[in-house]
Symmetry: C2
Subunit: 354 residues, 2 copies
């Protein structure tokens, strides 16, 4: 059994099992992984080790409440592997017969009412639904009960989970692979296409489709008022897949222009420095009283909303409201706070009297 000391193996301990935005795909290196969240602020985590439940009923009960437990794969103290043990195995040659359809479905903010009708229909029509346990648990029972199979892996293994979805499709099943938010926002649409290609299959052969969902930026923007009504940018502070100097350079470039900035994956115990660096960069370009909106777990039971100022942001990194499930919206120089809402003017006041 693994322990905290192995948390270094994972990209982001607090992302594990508690990813409630589109952050999931930035997590892990599981397969050679470790205790997930005992050292993180976030409440929920779960078992690593896929559960595949046939038909009726929701996904694995043991983890469906989204709290506690372990990343089941064996503890491994080897440091800094360049590549993980996750490899794509089978190729298109290993399957006979006609493939089914693969659909990447965005669930939106995380409550059933935030899903689109099209997402619901896609899930109802799918024979197999594949996803991270936390996301599968977001799907209403009346939908999951219609599926022949649910396949969920709790905190890690987005590569192997996506491969599993593709293999099931190649084997002739209609499969939906799900994530919160939108499949194009730091999420699985790209990984699915990359793995399909690596298997010698094509997207057309699987009739691959993406069903968009409401991204975290929009869910959070709505909770905050109207912070995002002009040009805007999304930056993830996870340096798991993008080097930190590149992230810093991007932050400099957009903070010096009038973009509102949505920050995904802002903080984890392993990446305090990224968050500190981000705050520092923003403060070199924007006033310390620039309004900043913080939304934790948008649309979930543990939702928390705070509007603060840029100068206060860094120290909030150590508070419960900021973790990997949090989305942060940094206003531009015109953004103001009124009646507990953030408002970024569109510029109408320059053209109209009101």
């Amino acid at each position: 059994m693994s322990t905290d000391t192995n948390a270094d193996e994972t990209e982001s301990a607090s992302n594990c099992g508690a990813s409630t935005t589109e952050t999931e795909e930035t997590s892990s290196k599981c397969g050679a992984s470790s205790e997930s969240s005992s050292d993180s602020e976030s409440a929920s985590s779960s078992k690593c080790g896929a559960s595949s439940s046939s038909s009726s009923g929701s996904s694995s009960d043991s983890s469906s409440s989204g709290s506690s437990s372990k990343c089941g794969a064996s503890s491994n103290s080897s440091s800094k592997q360049e590549k993980t043990d996750e490899k794509v195995g089978s190729t298109v040659e290993d399957f006979e017969g006609d493939p089914g359809q693969l659909i990447a479905v965005g669930l939106g903010p995380g409550h059933p009412e935030g899903m689109t009708e099209r997402a619901k229909t896609a899930l109802l029509e799918a024979e197999h639904i594949v996803g991270y346990t936390t996301y599968i648990d977001l799907i209403p029972d009346e939908i999951t009960e219609e599926a022949d199979e649910l396949y969920d892996t709790p905190m890690c293994g987005e590569v192997s989970r996506t491969e599993e979805a593709i293999d099931r499709t190649l084997a002739g099943n209609d499969v939906a692979i799900v994530g919160s938010g939108d499949p194009n926002v730091y999420a699985l649409a790209g990984l699915a296409l990359e793995i399909i290609e690596s298997k010698g299959a094509t997207a057309s052969m699987l009739n691959f489709e993406v069903v968009p969902g409401v991204p975290a930026a929009q869910s959070c923007g709505a909770r905050l008022g109207a912070p995002l009504v002009n040009d805007t940018v999304s930056v993830s502070l996870s340096d798991h897949l993008v080097p930190m100097p590149e992230i810093e350079s991007r932050l400099h470039s957009v903070a010096s222009e009038s973009f509102t900035i949505t920050i995904y994956n802002p903080w984890s115990r392993k990446r305090r420095e990224n968050f500190q660096k981000c705050c520092e960069i923003l403060l070199t370009h924007r006033d310390s009283d620039t309004p900043v909106g913080i939304v934790h777990g948008a649309g979930r039971e543990d939702e928390q909303v705070m509007i603060t100022e840029l100068g206060e942001l860094e120290e909030l990194g150590e508070s419960e409201i900021i973790d990997m499930t949090t989305t942060i919206v940094v206003g531009n120089e015109e953004t103001y706070v009124w009646d507990d809402r953030m408002v970024t003017p569109r510029g109408y006041e320059t053209k109209y009297d009101y």
Copy 2:
């Protein structure tokens, strides 16, 4: 009756009546406006002059098919007003009794299946539904039939329409004001808050809420594959409310970094130069073979999708696929085209074998 020659009065002729993204709020200066789309590529437009239809049935039949007609407000050839005639009139003092609730609802891409359940519920619970005619027409009849009143203004007057929604709320009605996409994306959430404030009311008093929707960037990203899975930016080329030098500066700053870039409001007859300038700026930072996705009328009957290269983009400005209803996604240096899809790698290939 107005003519083409007055198109100069409006910010964007082709946006008028054919806005199928979140572009609506960038249009017009109506009240002193003009023929909308006879000089534009886009098929649909409509009458300016609000129609308010009581209960049952969809909005004004004459414009519900989304084609033809005039901006009814009187022709006015005065040039370059600094401010328009649209002024907010009544204030909170003019109303007695308890106000109702105001909700800004994002309809998503434009087909009923793209709406969230929460958006549907909000519309069903609203007594009055207010919006641009084209958007009201996107709402299924079974929803609009439940409303006591529909108030739609066809192509212009987002300020007066929003004020109307607020006045109706102050008068005690529960009102939904609608737009396509998301209310935070170049859209009405901010304007609503600004006008509420100008009336001496507060957002809390109206229990103001924003119901998020799937933005055009996500709808288009889904149609294109997976172009947006890393850090991304949205830029509108409309210089109605933002000066062009500022837009140019933003484009330079983000094109020199690895953002994928979603371009809203890319082209109108009046703003050919903005589009040309944009293409020029992008080409100073990115290779001419950078993949570019173009989606016209995402999710609508007139949807068109094209994947091309940055070097080809400028001349496509003169073709039908690019107008104010089009969203353009410009890849970063790693984006590639495979099997008719755009893929921006997340970076997994640097960590995983597949």
